[in-house]
C-alpha cells in the first residue's frame, strides 16, 4: 500500500514533465509550422485552450482540440513568439509560473513542425514575475547569426565529449565506442537527481556530474578497462569490447528509464533574451558558461599541474613515463574520471535544451568522433577546435539543407577531411597507417 502511494506521488511528480515530451504523431503540415499538445498532469488532453503565435508581421490564434493538440501553419520560417492564454486553461490547471505563458520559437525546418510545450501543473501557480521578450530579427543574416551562436553552444557539447575521448585515447590508445554512453549517463543522472530525488536543478547538475565522474569514470575503469589492460588485451579487441559495452549500456538505460524523451525541469521553455538579432535563453547562457569553465579547468590541469604533465608524459610514451617513476595506472584513472565528468556535463547540457533519452549517446557519438578526427586524433586542443567547427557547421548547414539532414552533412565532411588531411587540422603531419 505504501509502495502504491509512493508510485502515485512519483507519477504526480513526473507527469508535468511528460506532458512536455513529444507525444502523438500528427499529419505533416505543408510548410513551416508550430505545433504542440496540451495535457493535464494526469495525461488528459486539454481542449479549448487558446494559443497565439505572432512574429514577422503574422499573427494567428488557435484553440486546442479534444486531444489537446494545436497547430499553427506559418507563412515562412523565422522567429516567432508563442503565447498561451492562461485564462482559457480549465479549472484547476495552471502553468508552473505565469511567465512561462510566453515562449520564443525559432522555426527552421519547412518539413518538421516545431514543437512547443508548456509546463502545466494542477493547482495554482505563483504570481508572474515578468512578461515575455520581443522577437529576434529574422532574415538570412539574422538567422545565420542566431545559428552560429546555437552552433557554438552545440560545439561546446561536442567538445566536452571530444576532449574526454581524446584524453582517454591519448593515454590508453582505446578508441572508445562507448563514450557516448557517458553523455547519456550524465543526462539520465541529472534527470534522476532533479526529478526522482527532487533536488533543485542547480544542485542536481553538479551532483550528477560528480556521480557520472565516479560511476562512468572511476567505476567503469576499475570494472572493465583496468582488468583488460592487466590481461594485455589487444587494441582491436578493446575496440570491440567498447562496442559490446555500448550496446549493453544503451539497452540497460532503456530498461531502467523507458523509451520516452524526458525534459529536465527548472529551465524548460524559457523566453529568450535578445542581443541584437540573437535570442539566447538564460538557461543556455548558464550552461555554456559552465562548459567553458570546465574546459578551461581541464586545459589548465593538463598544461600546468603536476598530474597534467604526467598525463602528457604517459600519452607520449607510457613505458618511458613508467620508468621515470610516474604511476601510469593512477594517471589513467584520473583521465577516466575527468573524461567521464566532462562527458556527463556534456550530456546534461544537451539534455537541458533537447531532453534526455536512452539514445542520447548514440545521437552524439559520431559527431564527437567527427570533432576529434577533424582536430587530429589524440590532441585535446585539436578536439576542442574540431568540435566547435563541427557544431557551427551543423547548425549553419540548415540554412541550405533540410535540418533533418544536418548530421549527415557533418559526417560527409568527416569522410572528406580524412581524404585530404587524415591527421586533422592540428594533428602532426606523420604517417598514420
Amino acid at each position: 500500500m505504501i509502495k502504491r502511494v509512493r508510485v502515485a506521488l512519483l507519477a504526480l511528480l513526473i507527469a508535468p514533465l511528460l506532458s512536455l515530451s513529444p507525444a502523438v504523431a500528427q499529419d505533416a503540415p505543408s510548410g513551416p509550422a508550430i505545433t504542440g499538445t496540451l495535457e493535464s498532469p494526469g495525461g488528459e488532453g486539454l481542449a479549448g485552450v487558446s494559443i497565439t503565435v505572432e512574429g514577422n508581421g503574422f499573427s494567428e490564434t488557435v484553440t486546442s482540440n479534444e486531444a489537446g493538440e494545436w497547430q499553427v501553419i506559418l507563412p515562412d520560417t523565422g522567429a516567432y513568439q508563442v503565447t498561451l492564454d492562461v485564462s482559457t486553461l480549465p479549472e484547476g490547471i495552471s502553468l508552473t509560473s505565469e511567465d512561462r505563458a510566453v515562449t520564443s520559437a525559432t522555426v527552421i525546418s519547412r518539413e518538421r513542425p516545431k514543437r512547443i510545450g508548456f509546463p502545466l501543473v494542477e493547482g495554482d501557480a505563483p504570481a508572474a514575475v515578468g512578461g515575455g521578450g520581443t522577437i529576434g530579427g529574422a532574415g538570412f543574416w539574422g538567422q545565420a547569426a542566431q545559428l552560429t551562436v546555437d552552433g557554438l553552444a552545440f560545439g561546446l557539447v561536442i567538445a566536452l565529449g571530444a576532449v574526454g575521448l581524446s584524453l582517454v585515447y591519448g593515454t590508453t590508445k582505446l578508441v572508445n565506442f562507448a563514450h557516448g554512453e557517458l553523455l547519456a549517463l550524465g543526462g539520465l543522472l541529472a534527470y534522476f537527481f532533479s526529478v526522482l530525488v527532487g533536488l533543485p536543478i542547480l544542485v542536481a547538475i553538479p551532483v550528477a556530474v560528480l556521480a557520472s565522474a565516479f560511476l562512468g569514470g572511476y567505476v567503469q575503469n576499475l570494472v572493465v578497462w583496468k582488468p583488460l589492460r592487466k590481461r594485455g588485451t589487444g587494441l582491436t579487441a578493446l575496440l570491440v569490447v567498447s562496442i559490446g559495452l555500448a550496446l549493453f549500456l544503451q539497452y540497460l538505460f532503456l530498461f531502467l528509464f523507458g523509451g520516452r524523451t524526458r525534459i529536465l525541469p527548472g529551465f524548460a521553455g524559457q523566453a529568450g533574451i535578445n542581443i541584437g538579432p540573437i535570442a539566447v535563453t538564460p538557461r543556455d547562457m548558464i550552461a555554456a558558461v559552465g562548459a567553458v569553465v570546465l574546459l578551461a579547468l581541464t586545459f589548465w590541469w593538463l598544461g600546468k599541474t603536476q598530474s597534467g604533465k604526467a598525463t602528457r608524459a604517459v600519452a607520449d610514451n607510457p613505458a618511458l613515463a613508467s620508468a621515470s617513476g610516474i604511476n601510469v595506472e593512477k594517471v589513467i584513472t584520473t583521465v577516466w574520471v575527468i573524461a567521464a565528468g566532462l562527458g556527463g556535463y556534456a550530456g546534461i547540457m544537451f539534455a537541458l535544451s533537447n531532453g534526455v533519452s536512452w539514445q542520447l549517446g548514440v545521437q552524439l557519438l559520431l559527431l564527437i568522433f567527427a570533432g576529434v578526427i577533424l582536430g587530429g586524433l589524440g590532441t585535446a586542443t585539436g578536439a576542442l577546435i574540431g568540435s566547435l567547427i563541427v557544431g557551427v557547421f551543423i547548425q549553419l548547414s540548415v540554412l541550405f539543407i533540410p535540418s533533418e539532414l544536418k548530421y549527415v552533412g557533418a559526417l560527409v565532411v568527416l569522410i572528406i577531411v580524412l581524404l585530404v588531411r587524415p591527421q586533422g587540422i592540428l594533428g602532426r603531419k606523420e604517417r598514420v597507417g
Binding site: T236, A237, L239, V240, L245, F255, I373, L405, L411
Partner: protein
C-alpha cells in the same frame, strides 16, 4: 509453460530467414575482418544499399527485379571504393569510424522526410515488388521437416534459396582463402609491413577484400528485401553490424563455416531466451514488477552486448576458431 512450442519456434528460427540474413552479413565480415583484419563497422550500410536498390528500382522506378539486384551489387562496389580510398592507407581505427559514419549517413538519408518520395521516409518501402522471384517458386504448399515448420510456400522457397546462396558463398570463401590471394590477405592481417616488404600491394588487396565482403553484405540486404518485400531504414542501424560481429566472433572468425554456425547458434539462443521469457512473464512466473513483456527485447540486447564483450576477451577465436589463426592485436 509450453516447452514444446518454445523449442519448435527456436529450432525453426535456426534455419529461418533472419539466420540467413545475418549469416550472409557475417560471411562478408569474415572476408574483411576474419581474413584480412579490416574493421568494417559499416556492414549495415552495405546491406542497406542492397535492400534499397531492390526496393527503389522495382517499387519506385518500376524496373525489373534482376536489374535491381545487379544495381545493388554494383552499388556495394562503389560504396566500398568510396570508403576504402581515404581510409585503407590509414590505421585500422580510422576505417572503423568512417565505415560506421558512412552507414549512418545512408540510414539517415533514406529515412529523411525530404527524400520521402524516393525512399519512403522512416516507414520505408513496402510492396509486392519481388513477384518475379516468387514466380519461380516450385513449392505449392509450406514444407515441414521434423520440428521445422514454415508458414507458407513462399517462406519455404526463399529459405531454400537462401541456404543455397550461403552454400555458394561458403564455397567461394573456401576456394579464395586457399588460393594465393587468400594467403596474401592473411599475411596482411598478421603483419602488414612484412607483406609490403615482400612487394605486395597491400592497399590493393585490402580494397579487394573490403569490396568483396561488402558485396556479400549487400546480398544480405537484397535477400532481406526480397524475403520481407519491404525495407525499413531502422533495420539498417549500427545494431545490425554489431549483431553480425557478435555472430562472427561467436562462430569463429577466419573459419569458413564460422559465420554460418555462429548465426544458427546466435538466433537459436536469442529466440529461445525471448520465447522463454515471454512465456514466463505471460504465465506470471516472473512478476510484472521485475520484467514487463515489452522489456524482454531489451534484456536480449543487453545479453548480446555482454556476450560480445566476454567472447572477445575470453574466447576471441569463438567456438570453432583457431586461436593461432586470430591473434587480435595492435593493428
Amino acid at each position: 509453460m509450453d516447452w514444446g512450442q518454445i523449442f519448435v519456434i527456436s529450432i525453426t528460427a535456426m534455419v529461418g530467414s533472419t539466420t540467413i540474413i545475418y549469416a550472409l552479413a557475417a560471411l562478408g565480415l569474415n572476408i574483411q575482418f576474419g581474413y584480412t583484419g579490416l574493421l568494417n563497422f559499416g556492414q549495415a550500410g552495405f546491406a542497406a544499399i542492397g535492400a534499397y536498390s531492390v526496393a527503389v528500382v522495382t517499387a519506385t522506378l518500376g524496373q525489373s527485379l534482376w536489374l535491381s539486384i545487379f544495381i545493388g551489387l554494383i552499388g556495394a562496389v562503389i560504396f566500398g571504393l568510396i570508403l576504402g580510398i581515404p581510409t585503407l592507407r590509414l590505421r585500422a581505427d580510422y576505417l572503423a569510424i568512417v565505415t560506421i559514419a558512412a552507414a549512418e549517413v545512408i540510414r539517415q538519408t533514406v529515412r529523411s522526410v525530404s527524400l520521402n518520395e524516393y525512399f519512403g521516409g522512416s516507414d520505408g518501402i513496402t510492396g509486392k515488388y519481388a513477384r518475379e522471384f516468387y514466380s519461380f517458386n516450385p513449392f505449392d504448399q509450406a514444407i515441414s521437416w521434423g520440428p521445422i515448420q514454415f508458414n507458407s510456400a513462399q517462406a519455404s522457397w526463399i529459405t531454400v534459396v537462401g541456404w543455397v546462396l550461403i552454400g555458394l558463398i561458403v564455397l567461394l570463401t573456401w576456394l579464395l582463402v586457399r588460393s594465393p590471394w587468400g594467403r596474401v590477405v592473411k599475411s596482411i592481417r598478421e603483419d602488414e609491413n612484412a607483406s609490403r616488404s615482400l612487394g605486395k600491394n597491400v592497399y590493393f588487396y585490402k580494397m579487394q577484400a573490403l569490396i568483396l565482403g561488402g558485396v556479400v553484405g549487400s546480398l544480405a540486404g537484397i535477400y532481406w528485401a526480397i524475403d520481407a518485400q519491404s525495407v525499413q531504414p531502422d533495420n539498417y542501424s549500427s545494431r545490425f553490424t554489431f549483431f553480425a560481429y557478435t555472430i562472427l566472433i561467436l562462430g569463429g572468425a577466419a573459419r569458413v563455416f564460422g559465420p554460418v554456425v555462429g548465426s544458427i547458434i546466435f538466433w537459436f539462443i536469442l529466440v529461445f531466451i525471448g520465447e522463454s521469457l515471454t512465456q514466463l512473464v505471460a504465465t506470471g512466473i516472473i512478476p510484472d514488477t521485475i520484467l514487463r513483456s515489452d522489456q524482454i527485447g531489451q534484456v536480449r540486447f543487453m545479453l548480446v552486448g555482454l556476450a560480445l564483450m566476454l567472447l572477445i576477451v575470453y574466447r576471441p577465436q569463438g567456438i570453432f576458431g583457431d586461436k593461432r589463426e586470430l591473434a587480435l592485436d595492435d593493428r
